[in-house]
């Protein structure tokens, strides 16, 4: 499978995520689009790790080449889980104060 297919696919998903962040005003949907972008990057990292593995099949220690990419994906998932817990807490606090999830209520920090 050529690597370009995976690059194009993850770019399409990433740009859908960007379009979601730019066009929606619901804070939770914006947050979900950020998760979408993170997943597009994860997919690309795994594809590149397999590409790296395929390119170094004749190297002497090729058995572990490319596993750093997959470990990085694991760490991205861990950070995303932590980020979601804090971010949703912020959204709940904002909803408690303004009774809305509209992102335009957050355009100023005072009041």
């Amino acid at each position: 499978m050529p690597i370009q297919y995976y690059i194009i696919l993850s770019m399409v998903i990433f740009c859908i995520g960007i379009a979601g962040v730019l066009t929606r005003r619901n804070t939770i949907i914006i947050f979900m689009c950020i998760e979408l972008m993170l997943n597009a990057v994860n997919l690309l990292l795994v594809a590149f790790s397999k590409m790296h593995y395929a390119a170094s099949l004749n190297a002497p220690n090729h058995a572990t080449v490319g596993s750093e990419g997959q470990l990085f994906v694991f760490f991205i998932m861990v950070v995303a889980a932590a980020e979601v817990s804090v971010g949703l807490a912020i959204i709940v606090m904002m909803f408690r104060n303004t009774h809305s999830v509209d992102a335009n209520f957050l355009n100023r920090l005072k009041n």
Binding site: M11, I13, I16, M32, N39, M93, V101
Partner: protein, 167 residues
């Protein structure tokens, strides 16, 4: 056209269509469900690339934990189609145009890049994605970042409790 190609195109179409439906759904609960479909499609891609550990972790962490948290918050706030904030149509158009032009630039860049033009990736064989090899590297070479993530989790937990506490 082998079975791998058919699965690749099917999973790609599923991922892109579900990602678009995340955007276009008016009801936030439907958005969450479509996002879970995206995660399952991406997990299918991981299995196709023989990254079994990440496929399982993706389903457990993303589709299992994070999306349930999203769903829980949405149901706690009782959001539905009526409470959805509306954005004016020019802002939507501007957002769609800027994301589309970014996509166009990136795609043309990939088309021109000579670094990746003849590279392929091995789909089936290669055991770098199995738990055995990943775990061996994680607990020898990358044990310090792994322990740092536990501190990150602890601070995130404390932060979530402090922020979410009713004052």
């Amino acid at each position: 056209m082998s079975a791998t190609h058919i699965l690749f195109w099917f999973l790609s179409a599923l991922a892109v269509v579900s990602a678009l439906m995340v955007l276009f759904s008016k009801n936030p609960v439907h958005s969450v469900l479509w996002l879970i479909a995206v995660f399952f499609a991406i997990s299918g891609h991981y299995i196709l690339m023989n990254a079994q550990f990440l496929a399982i972790v993706n389903i457990i962490v993303y589709a299992g934990a994070i999306m349930v948290l999203f769903l829980f918050v949405i149901m706690l706030m009782n959001l539905n189609k009526e409470s959805e904030p509306r954005k004016n149509v020019w802002m939507k158009l501007a957002g769609a145009i800027s994301a589309g032009s970014l996509l166009m630039i990136l795609v043309s860049l990939v088309g021109q890049a000579t670094e990746v033009s003849h590279k392929t990736l091995i789909m089936k064989d290669g055991n770098i994605g199995l738990i055995k090899s990943l775990g061996k590297i994680l607990f020898t070479q990358y044990v310090v970042p792994f322990e740092l993530t536990s501190i990150l989790f602890l601070s995130a937990m404390v932060g979530a409790v402090v922020i979410g506490k009713k004052d």
